[in-house]
Symmetry: C2
Subunit: 201 residues, 2 copies
Amino acid sequence: MQRRTTPDTGRRSEASRRAILDAAFALAGEVGYAKLSIEGIAARAGVGKQTIYRWWPSKGAVLFDAVLSLTEGREGAEGMALPDTGDLEADLKLVLRATVDEFADPAYDRPLRALSIEITNDPALAALYAERLEGPMNELKKARLRAAQEAGQLPADLDLDVAVDLIWSPLLSRWLHRSGPLTHAYADAVVETALRGIYAR
Amino acid sequence: MQRRTTPDTGRRSEASRRAILDAAFALAGEVGYAKLSIEGIAARAGVGKQTIYRWWPSKGAVLFDAVLSLTEGREGAEGMALPDTGDLEADLKLVLRATVDEFADPAYDRPLRALSIEITNDPALAALYAERLEGPMNELKKARLRAAQEAGQLPADLDLDVAVDLIWSPLLSRWLHRSGPLTHAYADAVVETALRGIYAR
């Protein structure tokens, strides 16, 4: 975003930016992405359309920043760390159950689904998403697995990227393609099978 | 599709249907889904627009049937069975490497990506896809795992749906969100880790 020279204008700009992002996220949840429009976001945020177009080229770009600001709002990476009680399996189940709950909530499902479609469609947005959102999230996931490695609970030569995909992809795929029920029981089964393996289950 | 009473008309209809599906798949691969149009499909197939609209309500519906006809063309479920050499790990690697190759080919990547977006967006289409394409594909995958169960290579109480998701979701997610390199080495690592588990890897 652009910053002006006087503090007052800067504060007003920041307030407008915040209002626009909140409006975009809320509207995407209420009306869905197809009916989301710059006009609608502007009306909801109480700003002019040109204010939005000054900072973002498209509704997809606004929504992207709105989703990004969800994580930024939670006091940085510190506040976002995965739980670590020492029991990896229990901690992962807690996290995946929370993801199931999030996907079941229309206020999250719709904006996140819209963002996923944009990313699937647009390699440039996918790269930006990987760099600014998925990358940092994956680092948090890998940090939790690394702690388990250091505690001797996971092999030292584990490929952490593959492990993260194995744990988190089934929920993502099932959610996107609506290919089966997304329940806490499913989240638990995924964690158990990923950790112990299909051979051993 | 509608069928007329005389055999001649039936044959002509079938030829038109085939030409429309081939044109839709090829065009989606060449120009991408955003630029795919009923007009373009009609021109490529050598039929009138109204012929397409008689059978399909939208370009998404045409593309759906085009992807579906890919599998129907391969002499039914018999011809589609997963390889079974008795070595489950080797067989799964072969299948996942072939999927990696398919995703890397623009002629497949673009139509399949477009279809995935439609499914993500449209619950009704997702249900149809689950019933007519993903369901039958999953049955083939589960049949291979069941054979391994019967050979005593997998536990009798294995949840086959969870196992299928664990093996196939990582590739799907990585492809859709372009979140990392999709290589044969990655396919191999996913199979190995899914079978043996993150604990054991």
